[in-house]
Chain length 88, copies 2
Amino acid sequence: MSAGENVIIVGKKSVNDYVLAAILLFNEGHDEIVIKGKGANIGKAVDVYNALKDRLSDSLELVSVTIDSEVLGNRIIPYIEIKVRRTL
Amino acid sequence: MSAGENVIIVGKKSVNDYVLAAILLFNEGHDEIVIKGKGANIGKAVDVYNALKDRLSDSLELVSVTIDSEVLGNRIIPYIEIKVRRTL
């Protein structure tokens, strides 16, 4: 995955803020977006996915879920990447 | 997924406890196990997966990751299911 403009990094804002950010990206013409959460925000990334699914229902398709960890300085941070696609 | 004996529900115990539980299941002859975390334990389930991967390295294969939500009474609880396989 390249760190393009279609990646939403889930942080301290509300779940709804990230849902809106995702919908804006779709409306800008991105077919696929990635919702990424690190460490303590992994659960929130799943919340964002579920809230987005509630909002877009059948027009949202789950492409893939990646879980892994990355080294940041001397810490190992787990992360999740949820790739979704909007169909029509 | 059937709720068989090969599902580890991640709760309040330590990450290492669940890693050990997974290794015990593999040693009992299960080829695949599912690490499941609900709500606030979603991130911890990913931690368990990463710790298990560190321990078993190349002999652990990630089969699939499922994220969804389930209705429990009048609450909607998101969850993650991480299916892993031991090779060799």
